[in-house]
């Protein structure tokens, strides 16, 4: 098959087997993509439990409906489309309902944010730099809330996951051009929000 990568050929075989009910083939497909899916879900939701929920929902949905996959796009794009929709639903629900974040308690019984505990282990890190980094992290998290769910998705997928805008457009079921415009709007809003917080 000229023009197709070897991995895509393998995917096709696994997909066809999975469509016939071969669960082992489906699980092999999952293994190729699940870390990336979990990473995206974790970064979007900020909690392991919500990330696991999205992971579970995405792959169960994929398994239930793999019969509908018609090879019009890659499996990668298809699964990302499912995950993106689930993440968008999650972001929209967070906007509408103020969901309780999972709480954690320190040794004094005080609540703390899990994200604040992600420490910087890179060489050259220091307590002062770590504190500054956490404060900046809080500012960035606040700025990200200014984005619409779609803007947030595009920005996260581009900046933090490194996906191409063409892939992002396909995942969001839109064009690359729309994804570009969305990225532009997102960066403008974030820059304005961060500037306001100085």
């Amino acid at each position: 098959m000229i023009g197709q990568s070897p991995s895509r050929i393998n995917d096709a075989e696994l997909i066809r087997a999975a469509q016939k009910g071969d669960r082992a083939a489906f699980e092999q497909l999952v293994r190729q993509y699940d870390q990336a899916v979990l990473r995206l879900a974790l970064q979007l939701t900020g909690t392991e439990q919500d990330a696991r929920d999205i992971y579970q929902d995405a792959f169960l949905k994929a398994y239930r409906n793999i019969g509908n996959f018609r090879f019009e796009c890659s499996f990668y794009t298809w699964i990302y489309r499912i995950v993106t929709n689930l993440c968008l639903d999650h972001l929209r629900r967070k906007q509408v309902r103020k969901e309780d974040a999972p709480v954690a308690f320190d040794e004094h019984g005080q609540e703390y944010s899990i994200i604040d505990q992600v420490s910087d282990n890179r060489p050259g890190a220091s307590p002062e730099r770590d504190l500054m980094r956490r404060e900046l992290g809080a500012r960035i998290a606040k700025a990200l809330t200014k984005l619409t769910p779609r803007e947030r998705m595009v920005f996260e997928m581009k900046h933090y996951q490194g996906l191409k805008l063409r892939t992002i457009g396909e995942a969001l079921n839109t064009t690359e051009e729309t994804a570009k415009n969305t990225l532009f709007r997102a960066t403008q809003k974030l820059r304005a929000a961060l500037a306001d917080m100085r």
């Binding site: 699980e27 999952v30 439990q49 019969g67 999972p102 954690a104 994200i115 933090y160």
Partner: protein, 308 residues
């Protein structure tokens, strides 16, 4: 190449999304234009700033737990086959119709309304007159029952099923409303809806069925906020109801959220004569990986009298 174009495309340039010739032109322009060079520098700083955001990493434990959970769920999951696939993508058959002249020529559709499930339908059949029902939205297609080709081959009759969203209003004291809330608390995919349901059911823990539902939420809900809410509701029954006590004890030992476990310890403080509770607290005081849980377990053990 003008400054407006450069400003609109600086983000794409820095994210490597511009074609090679556009990249080159942008660089050439920025080398000549002070304003655009400053904008480019500003945008670079912004990118660096955003990259300083702490990134949550997928730990091997998280990946393994997710895979295991998925494997278990796959064992009881069925693939959608045949006409049921239209539930996922109801317009797929319309896309097919574009390529099928016979279907596309004339389509005659007969539809009728349907319910969303036996339980809900049974409940709705018994809605008393004091519960207000409102139907606002249009029905959506949930499946195709039958397709009949008329003589001549160009007309088609399609029988389809639709689901109709509805709204009900009523008092929390009404058993039908309570049934709906319990259904929502157990099975709604939206954790916000489950949270609201548990919050309302909290008002009626003296009802055995509702208490059962709250126990289910404490044991199995995937959202720790919902589990905490259920724990709050059950707090008053730890002493008198052994099922509640067992569920709270399980939460203390097995819940993956420290906040839920801390709430469980507080709830179990009131139980003074239960050896299982003491045994659990003793083990946690010695071996739990969470320092706060160890400290709290020791504190409760120290304050509890010996078994009667």
């Amino acid at each position: 190449m003008n400054c407006d174009w450069v400003r609109e495309n600086i983000a794409l340039y820095l994210y490597n999304e511009l074609a090679d010739d556009a990249r080159h032109e942008l660089e050439q322009h920025a080398a000549r234009c002070g304003h655009c060079a400053a904008e480019l520098a500003e945008m670079r700083r912004f990118q660096e700033q955003m990259s300083l955001r702490p990134m949550l990493e997928v730990t091997p434990n998280l990946l393994a737990a997710s895979r295991m959970q998925l494997q278990e769920a796959l064992e009881s999951t069925e693939q959608v086959r045949g006409w049921q696939s239209l539930f996922f993508d109801p317009w797929a058959w319309l896309r097919q119709a574009r390529f099928s002249p016979a279907l596309a020529a004339v389509i005659f559709i007969a539809g009728f309304g349907g319910g969303i499930g036996a339980t809900y339908r049974a409940m709705m059949n018994h809605i008393p007159s004091n519960i207000v029902q409102e139907q606002h939205q249009e029905a959506s297609i949930s499946g195709i029952r039958n397709i009949i080709t008329k003589p001549g081959g160009k007309e088609v009759q399609i029988e389809l099923e639709k689901t109709l969203p509805e709204q009900v209003q009523g008092s929390i004291d009404d058993p039908n409303i309570q049934n709906l809330l319990m259904l929502a608390a157990r099975s709604n995919i939206n954790s916000g809806v489950r949270m609201d349901s548990v919050d309302l059911l909290k008002q009626k823990p003296d009802d055995g069925r509702i208490r059962e539902s709250l126990i289910f939420s404490l044991r199995y809900d995937s959202n720790p906020g919902v589990r905490l809410k259920a724990l709050e509701a059950l707090n008053g029954y730890v002493k008198q109801d052994i099922r509640v006590r067992n569920a709270v004890l399980e939460a203390l030992l097995n819940d993956n959220n420290p906040g839920v476990r801390t709430g469980a310890i507080k709830a179990l403080e009131q139980v003074r004569a239960d050896s299982s509770v003491r045994q659990a607290l003793q083990e946690l005081a010695k071996e739990d990986p969470n320092e706060f849980i160890r400290t709290e377990s020791k504190r409760v053990l120290a304050s509890c009298p010996e078994i009667d």
